[in-house]
């Protein structure tokens, strides 16, 4: 069976995704599957050199405590210094990292991860099950402040099975469970004697060690010569800087102070492109912009009102003006086209004031007055986007009053609290995680207070379903439900844009989650 799949992959008759899914479904150990991929796509990275990075984010309050990782600076540093059990491959599937292999029980409730023998921490210690358990437990328990806590909610028990094997018992079946471990919070750190980790430790299993770290300013990473993972960590030395000002970031790239910057000012990207030494990297991803409405609060409790609003927004304008063309129109559902179970059959929803009016009438309304709460930091251009929405909605007889909230405290005082606001999602690696996080009834971050019986039922079923076809059908239906009956307007998916000098190289395919190869570019890319 494996042989057959391998052949199909090579000849291109099946997509890589199908292959992985198929292999996983058969309970195959995933390690061998990913090796196959490595063989199939020969790449020729170069060793050595220095990479200097200018990041928008990074704060003086940053720490190495994985529970508080919340910006690109720490994500990239974290992925370079620590390994996770599983990493997300460019095709959106999981791929073993510190785990050599993993397998599920038939009900997908028990998962067994076998650790690599060769993996060592930078202090030379071998990675053991105890390290994994301590690292995961850091995010669990009543006193954990970790943002990863909700991800790991379904874990009932973690046990070591010998030094080398960790067994997770879940409260319910979850076919995507391994992919959770790609999360940047879940890098493995050495356990201390008392079974906890030192939250500030910089000792990891990754390809780089920290030479210096100044929060919010810069980090210097040095390659580990004894890195256990082969074919990774090509660059000798990496320097990460926080350059919050867009113009400064751009100047730094142009003057050769740095080799790579994230989020160049979209206004001037077209000019940046003219520079012969600079290349742009755009990456579709899971990033999407949302305007959640509380589905339990009038007038949003009427689906006709929600549909009216969904038809009253000009999505193309959103992409053109707010995203400066770096994005794709969305269809009011959060699954990105790069993801495994993306429903490509949903007809795109066009800007249609007449239809909006029709829905209003169905709701028994002539006009609609609502307040849309927003702030500059809801996402870049959120205020502009809201104002544009307000303008176009007038054509449908909908008056949207844009309420600009203070950026400070927006996430604590407005988001989840106001019935109609703006927000965004960087995305989740799987459809299940995305839905579970933001659409499942009772989820902490169910920003639209969405509660749909059929959807809730499908979510649980699909999670534990190991048959890909059945799963696909379930996820397709869920996307349909969210799009048509959901309480979230999703006007667009964004693209990540980064700019770099031509000496920076990357593999042919990169991971589509978050920016810069799933933020794992430091160990995956190389310089010439």
């Amino acid at each position: 069976m494996i042989e057959k799949l391998k052949q199909d992959l090579a000849t291109g008759t099946i997509s890589r995704r199908t292959f992985m899914a198929g292999a996983l479904a058969m309970g195959a150990t995933v390690s061998s599957a990913s090796l196959l991929v490595g063989e199939a796509h020969a790449i020729a990275p170069q060793k050595g050199g220095t990479l200097r990075i200018g990041f928008t984010q990074g704060s003086t309050s940053d720490t190495f405590d994985p529970a508080t990782f919340n910006n690109d600076f720490m994500l990239a540093t974290g992925y370079a210094v620590f390994n996770t059990l599983v990493e997300l491959a460019p095709d959106g599937s999981g791929q073993p990292d510190l785990a050599e292999s993993y397998e599920a029980s038939a009900d997908a409730k028990t998962w067994t991860f076998r650790l690599r023998d060769e993996a060592t921490f930078s202090d030379g210690k071998k990675v053991t099950a105890a390290d994994v358990i301590a690292s995961i437990r850091h995010h669990l328990g009543e006193n954990s402040k970790s943002a990863a806590k909700p991800l790991l909610k379904s874990i009932e028990d973690i046990k070591a099975d010998g030094d080398n094997t960790v067994v997770f018992t879940l409260t319910e079946g979850n076919a995507d469970f391994p992919l959770i471990f790609n999360d940047y919070h879940l890098g493995i750190r050495p356990a201390q004697a008392d079974g906890t980790i030192d939250p500030d430790t910089m000792i990891g299993t990754g390809g780089y060690v920290v030479e210096s770290f100044e929060a919010g300013v810069r980090a210097v990473l040095k390659r580990r010569d004894d890195y256990w993972k082969k074919g990774r960590a090509h660059i000798d030395r990496v320097e990460i800087l926080t350059i919050a000002d867009p113009a400064a970031r751009m100047n730094a790239l142009l003057t050769g102070e740095v080799d790579l910057i994230d989020r160049p000012d979209l206004k001037t990207v077209h000019m940046l492109k003219r520079n012969p030494n600079v290349k742009l990297h755009t990456q579709d991803g899971t990033l999407h912009y949302v305007m959640p409405m509380h589905s339990d609060t009038a007038p949003f409790d009427d689906n006709n009102v929600r549909l009216a609003l969904k038809n009253a927004i000009n999505r193309q304008e959103f992409v053109d003006k707010v995203l400066k063309g770096y994005g794709k129109v969305g269809n009011d559902q959060p699954i990105a086209s790069s993801m495994q179970f993306y429903n490509d059959q949903l007809a795109p929803r066009a800007f249609d004031p007449e239809k909006a009016k029709y829905h209003l009438k169905q709701a028994g309304l002539d006009t609609l007055n609502v307040k849309l709460h927003t702030a500059e930091n809801a996402f870049g251009g959120a205020v502009d986007a809201s104002l544009l929405f307000s303008e176009t909605a007038k054509a449908a007889g909908i008056n949207i009053e844009v309420v600009r909230e203070p950026a400070d405290g927006y996430w604590s005082n407005v988001w989840l609290k106001k019935p109609f606001c703006t927000s965004y999602w960087g995305g989740r690696p799987t459809a299940d995680l995305m839905f579970t996080t933001a659409y499942a009834a009772g989820a902490d971050w169910n920003e639209s207070r969405f509660n749909h019986e059929r959807f809730n039922e499908l979510l649980v079923k699909a999670r534990a379903e190991l048959d890909t076809e059945t799963r696909r059908n379930m996820y397709f239906e869920m996307q349909q439900i969210v799009s048509d009956e959901g309480s979230t307007i999703i006007p667009a998916f964004g693209q990540y844009v980064s700019a770099m000098t031509k000496r920076v190289h990357m593999p042919e395919k990169v991971t589509q989650l978050w920016d810069l190869d799933g933020m794992r570019f430091i160990e995956r890319w190389w310089v010439s």
Partner: protein, 318 residues
């Protein structure tokens, strides 16, 4: 104890009281800010549960008064506490940035003050000449442009078009002094351009003001050349306002350079303070805020003392 010492001691005492009130104000300010460190750090990722856990860990569940008193008690023992955000000792966190801030301020001041005073004297000497008018227009233009704009233009000119200087002012402990001067040249130049105009105009105005005094006419009628009249007779008596404006600008160079820090990615105190305010990291806000206030107060005391010393009458009286 001489009068000057008494005066300085009294002013220092008053300054300490002021500092205390400032610290109380900052604390109340931080308390009044919407949301707190736990929510800010966790951001969108915050859930009520994680926020509560974080608050417990940070001690934010304690009443405000207790937290403030504990902090004050710490300060009296020379302990500025630890950053809520990363549990590092505040003093240790602030020290390297303080050094950077002082370095840049000193660098800019070392050039700006003599140049501004000289230009001001020249403008007063050649009052209403072409030079004076040009200097005036230059001064007005440089204060009328936003700092970040000046910075961008300088980067364009001296880093992009003619690559003489780096566009990022990256220095650390290991950077040799000369190298540090080179790397921070553009931010220093930006600051120089920003502060020079004010000092120059005030120097000119102060000297011209003194020129109306009878003793200036007397000096001229003694046959003293014009430049000596300015230097020997006008300047010493124009010193107090000049000292004052220099002090104000020195204070600005230390406390007001956030924007320049951002543009040149220079790790100074301003950026730390802005971040700390954004993150509600109270001990850091307090430490930096107090340092800034102390800078302002001590520069003021220094300016007063120097003004007094520059006047023989006050000098003897004090």
């Amino acid at each position: 104890m001489s009068g000057i010492q008494k005066l300085v001691l009294r002013r220092i005492g008053l300054g300490i009281v002021t500092l205390f009130i400032v610290s109380l104000l900052i604390f109340i300010g931080v308390e009044l800010l919407p949301s707190d460190l736990a929510q800010e750090i966790l951001g969108q990722a915050a859930t009520p549960e994680t926020v509560a856990a974080f608050r417990r860990e940070l001690g934010l569940d304690q009443p405000a008064v207790i937290r403030y008193l504990e902090w004050v008690a710490g300060v009296f023992q020379g302990d500025f506490g630890v950053s809520l955000a990363n549990r590092r000792d505040v003093a240790e966190l602030v020290a390297p940035r303080l050094k950077n801030t002082m370095f840049l301020a000193g660098y800019a001041a070392a050039i700006a003050v003599p140049v501004a005073v000289t230009l001001g004297i020249l403008a007063a000497l050649f009052r209403n000449s072409i030079f004076d008018r040009l200097a005036n227009v230059f001064a007005l233009s440089s204060i009328s442009l936003p700092e970040f704009f000046v910075a961008y233009v300088l980067i364009l000119l001296f880093a992009v078009n003619i690559p003489l200087f780096p566009s990022l002012a990256r220095i650390d402990d290991a950077t040799p002094f000369i190298e540090a001067l080179y790397r921070t040249f553009l931010p220093a130049l930006t600051l120089i351009l920003v502060v020079i105009a004010h000092m120059m105009r005030m120097t000119r105005a102060a000297i011209i003001n003194v020129l109306a005094e009878p003793y200036i006419e007397m000096a001229r009628l003694k046959g003293v050349p014009r430049y000596k009249v300015i230097l020997r007779h006008a300047l010493p008596n124009a010193l107090p306002p000049i000292i004052n404006v220099v002090a104000i600008n020195l204070a600005y160079l230390i406390v007001g350079v956030v924007v320049v820090e951002v543009v040149f990615v220079y790790p100074g105190l301003g950026q730390l303070l802005v971040d700390a305010v954004a993150k509600r990291d109270f001990p850091v806000v307090q430490a930096v805020g107090l340092f800034f206030a102390a800078t302002y107060i001590s520069l003021n005391i220094l300016a007063d003392v120097l003004s007094i010393l520059s006047n023989p009458r006050l000098r003897a009286k004090a």
